[in-house]
């Protein structure tokens, strides 16, 4: 156990890709946490998907031993957090377990949307913030300009920022010194009853359910009988340890310390993050404030391409949810796509990541429907419910109101792209809340319907700003909206997987866009095929696929037989991948492609 005065707990926060994980690498290295041989780049990003995409998804905690300039030994608990907005929940949890934050800003990029969002959270958590100007080794780095920006936009004194490079190692020692001298030590009473925050829990193939804890008062040790105050469940602590960054057993954890425990918890959902852990024999009176649970905001249907993979998909979802309690799933049936699951996610990237992991780690081939949001439905009979799937929308006459989620979005962009950004926000029903400038960067704050954002907002924003804008959002409130369900009909039969809920004003253009896209995706049949978009019984857009006229090999002689056979095999393979829709054969990837609306 280390005295609180010699402990510093801090999070590393930044906009995506500004170098948090790489700075963590250097800090681990300087403090001797890993040998040269064990070190890899972004060593804390240990999930395959993190390594492949070069991003952090899961926050990671590391304990470092550091001997400061004052000659004293300190224990530093570092938490590397994800930068992407979808995983903002990981950031807020990490912040509540620490007293300080290293705010990393890429000196070649400057302050971005998530920089700000993270700063606000850190201020709210009453953190001491130490700004770090990273990547000063880059020729494009402008540390002075970015320093000024930090002062202007964020309001932190420019002189406090530490110039550094996670690549060359410059400034790393200054960072460590600043952590020790500028950040507050934790407080806590070692004699008081055990009060510890359950910061995170996950499943480890070797160690079982792991629980990350931060002790406020008292101490936690092996053999102790603990109680989870939220669920009331009791467990015996089997193992106590810290990440150095390898899991390393310790005897106990005292006030201000962070580490993991294994306590015979069966599933991750039994170890609810934000819960308070206390001692069964001598409980504390008040639980810690905890955090609001993360709720899925984006939903989509996931269907196996091969219908035989349905049970495989169920198993895979169950396994993944052991590790990630932030997504939800329930069985769904689609006439077009067969049996699958309606799944809820924290955002679009989260959705992509889970889908990727399902495909790769479980060897599945999946189709996903277009992402949609959760609508609050109030019916004329006074009942109400949450609608997760456009296909389930009740008859219009029975609906009193539909409410949709709105977000508060912060967009930062070089001012030359401000015009198109504002146009985009207006097109997407945005309401401007604020518009400010810092140097040649503009910051626009908008209220936007989430449904517009999950449609193709990111892609559009990226394309109108050539990738120079950054975007962050927080869920705001539900508001009634003029929303309608657009159905897509193929020769008169609705294709449930393609139906969508949109604002009345956008219905026609979206419906048309899908029909036009489908026209290129559905192969010609032996007869004419009508593609229609409709609201209720009213057709709002229509395209026609004329009948197949010609599919024959003009010339075929003795030497062409093996080649022709292969072509035929391919054609037959293709036919197998078709889903019969009424009399129309539609290749599965047509659904998939049509659903990837993008900026089409």
């Amino acid at each position: 156990m280390t005295a609180p005065s010699h402990i510093r707990n801090f999070s590393i926060i930044a906009h995506i890709d500004h170098g948090k994980s790489t700075i963590a690498d250097r800090l681990i290295q300087v403090c001797g946490g890993l040998s040269e041989r064990e070190m890899t780049e972004q060593v804390l990003d240990n999930m395959d998907i993190e390594r492949e995409r070069g991003i952090t998804i899961k926050a990671q905690t590391v304990r470092l031993n550091y001997t400061a300039a004052d000659g004293e030994g300190y224990v530093l608990n570092l938490m590397d957090t994800p930068g992407h907005v979808d995983f903002g929940y990981e950031v807020s949890r990490s912040l509540s377990a620490c007293e300080g934050s290293l705010l990393v800003v890429d000196a070649s990029q400057g302050v971005e949307a998530q920089t700000l969002a993270n700063v606000y959270q850190a201020v709210e958590a009453d953190h001491e913030i130490v700004p770090v100007l990273n990547k000063i080794d880059l020729p494009a780095a402008e540390p002075e300009r970015v320093q000024m920006q930090i002062e202007e936009v964020i309001g932190l004194p420019a002189d406090d920022a530490i110039p550094a490079s996670a690549k060359t190692g410059a400034g790393i020692n200054d960072i460590l010194e600043a952590v020790v001298t500028r950040m507050k030590p934790p407080e806590g009473d070692v004699e008081a009853p055990l009060t510890a925050l359950l910061v995170d829990s996950w499943y480890d193939a070797y160690l079982g359910v792991m629980t990350l804890v931060r002790v406020r008062d008292g101490r936690i040790r092996k053999g102790m009988k603990i109680r989870l105050m939220g669920t009331g469940a009791t467990h015996v602590v089997e193992r106590v340890g810290v990440f150095s960054p390898k899991p390393t057993p310790v005897d106990e954890l005292g006030p201000g310390e962070m580490g993991f425990i294994n306590a015979g918890v069966k599933t991750v959902s039994d170890a609810r993050v934000g819960d308070t852990i206390t001692e069964e024999r001598r409980p504390c009176t008040e639980p810690l404030p905890g955090f609001k649970p993360s709720v899925p905001v984006v939903f989509c249907g996931l269907f196996p391409v091969d219908t035989n993979d349905f049970s495989g998909l169920r198993e895979a979802l169950e396994k993944l949810s052991l590790n990630d309690a932030s997504f939800s799933f329930e069985a769904e049936t689609s006439a077009a796509l067969g049996f699958g699951f309606r799944c809820g996610f924290l955002g679009l990237l989260h959705m992509e990541v889970i889908r990727d992991r399902l495909e790769r780690e479980f060897n599945l081939d999946l189709i996903s429907t277009a992402p949609s949001v959760v609508y609050q439905m109030t019916m004329t009979d006074g009942s109400s419910f949450n609608l997760h799937n456009p296909a389930d929308m009740p008859e219009v006459t029975k609906i009193a109101t539909i409410e949709e989620p709105w977000i508060k979005a912060t967009i930062m962009t070089p001012d030359e792209y401000l015009g198109p950004v504002l146009t985009l926000c207006t097109e997407r029903r945005g309401e401007q809340l604020d518009l400010t400038y810092a140097g040649n960067r503009a910051m626009a704050v908008y209220r936007l319907p989430l449904n517009e954002v999950v449609f193709d907002f990111y892609d559009r924003l990226k394309s109108v700003t050539r990738g120079y804008a950054s975007f962050d959002y927080a869920i705001d409130e539900y508001r009634p909206g003029e929303l309608v369900k657009v159905s897509i009909l193929v020769n008169g039969d609705p294709v449930d997987a393609l139906s969508m809920i949109v604002h009345r004003e956008q219905a026609e253009s979206r419906g048309r866009a899908i029909c036009v896209r489908l026209k290129d995706l559905v192969p010609r049949q032996m007869f004419k095929v009508a593609l229609q978009a409709a609201i209720g019984g009213k057709v709002i857009a229509r395209e026609t696929i004329s009948a197949l006229r010609k599919d024959v090999t003009a010339k075929c002689y003795g030497g062409d037989i093996s080649r022709k056979k292969k072509l035929l095999e391919k054609q037959k393979e293709g036919k197998k991948k078709m889903r019969q829709f009424g009399k129309v054969d539609i290749p599965q990837n047509a659904f998939f492609e049509a659903l990837k609306m993008g900026d089409g």
């Binding site: 006229r549 599919d551 003009a554 056979k565 035929l568 037959k572």
Partner: protein, 388 residues
């Protein structure tokens, strides 16, 4: 073995050289200045001998076909020598058909007499178009006038003449094609191969098309041209006996019928294919494609066979349907079953019912046929019909 002995046997001889490479052509053809004719002559003889010993089994040939490439560039003495050798090794049936493909230029027309003397009794001229603009688009070396003269010259030596035309070319209109076709009919020939231009992989046209150039008309227009062509040809007494081949009664190319009826043939020369009925099904043979490699292999081993495949009964039946349904006569199902002693499910019955109902396929007595309406959709029909 009696069954194989009943099946007709044909011989294909591939000459892989051309004066220039046409931009649409994916045949095994090469442009070479110095072809060592003596070496090639010896190699053709050796490979023919090898094939006769191993696969001929004392069967007479019903047909010999010199294809290419441009076989009209072969020295007539070589053609004569190979026909003699074939007669010696296999024997020729009384009404043997001996065809040579020829390009319609003046220099080749000069060879016709020699070819006739060598024993060739049928000539297939690659006219491709009777319009200079069409020929230029196809990158051909001859003019329409030259082609007409070549046909005239051929008339003096051959009773059986066929021409190839390529239509559904870029910018071609229905009316334009109809008048070109009528002019061709005015030539009074008894056989015509009318191919819609196909963009084949690995050709100059293919890379141009991939870069976005439009080289063929839209499918709907091409389909219309095809149907018009069939109407006109039927009216003129040369109905389609195969998807793209038209002939007066009794004038069909017997050699190509061997392919479409899935009978037996032996191929010699670079990249030549052969297929033979064996007790288990069908044997496939293919020789090395590159002329130089073929030459070396033959000189080395007496043959250049580098691919041997053996199809079982199911695949053999599939071949019979795939090729046979190209023919207007269709395929006799009982004969097919008897030939391969198999009653295995070779057709998807529900697909067949559906196709018959929609009028694309018909069953007349024991013959299964694709209707004129189904011809343009044959590939689609086959993928539906053959069990996966």
């Amino acid at each position: 073995m009696s069954k194989a002995a009943e099946t007709p046997l044909a011989l294909y001889i591939h000459w892989p050289f051309c004066r220039a490479k046409c931009p649409y052509c994916d045949f095994n053809s090469h442009v070479s200045q110095d072809v060592d004719h003596a070496r090639f002559a010896a190699a053709y003889r050796r490979e023919m001998a090898h094939m006769a010993t191993h696969y001929g089994a004392g069967r007479k040939l019903v047909s010999i076909f010199f294809g290419g490439g441009t076989p009209s560039l072969m020295p007539p003495s070589l053609v004569a020598g190979l026909i003699d050798e074939a007669e010696r090794l296999f024997g020729l049936s009384d009404d043997v058909e001996i065809t040579a493909e020829a390009n319609p230029t003046s220099s080749e027309a000069a060879m016709f007499e020699g070819f006739r003397a060598a024993g060739v009794n049928r000539i297939s001229l690659g006219v491709q178009s009777l319009r200079d603009a069409g020929l230029a688009f196809l990158g051909r070396e001859h003019s329409a006038g030259e082609a007409r003269s070549a046909i005239m010259a051929a008339r003096q030596h051959f009773a059986r003449i066929s021409i190839d035309l390529i239509y559904a070319r870029r910018d071609q209109t229905c009316a334009g094609w109809v008048s070109e076709l009528r002019e061709a009919l005015d030539l009074g020939l008894t056989h015509m191969s009318l191919y819609q231009l196909t963009i084949e992989r690995g050709t100059v046209f293919h890379s141009r098309a991939r870069r976005g150039e439009r080289l063929v008309p839209p499918d709907d227009l091409a389909a219309e041209m095809y149907e018009m062509t069939n109407d006109i040809m039927t009216g003129a007494g040369l109905p389609a006996y195969e998807i793209s081949n038209h002939a007066a009664t009794g004038e069909a190319c017997r050699h190509n019928l061997v392919y479409w009826r899935a009978q037996d043939w032996i191929g010699i020369g670079p990249g030549a294919h052969g297929r033979l009925t064996v007790p288990a099904g069908r044997l496939g043979l293919a020789t090395r494609r590159s002329p130089a490699a073929w030459l070396e292999s033959v000189e080395d081993a007496g043959h250049a066979i580098d691919i041997v495949t053996e199809d079982g009964r199911a695949d053999s039946i599939a071949e019979s349907l795939m090729m046979g349904l190209r023919l207007a006569e269709g395929v006799s199902i009982p004969a097919l079953e008897a030939r391969y002693a198999s009653r295995a499910a070779h057709l998807d019955e529900t697909a067949l019912d559906r196709l018959v109902e929609s009028g694309l396929v018909e069953i007349g007595g024991v013959q299964l046929r694709v209707t004129p309406a189904g011809r343009l959709l044959l590939d689609w029909i086959l993928a539906d019909l053959l069990p996966g």
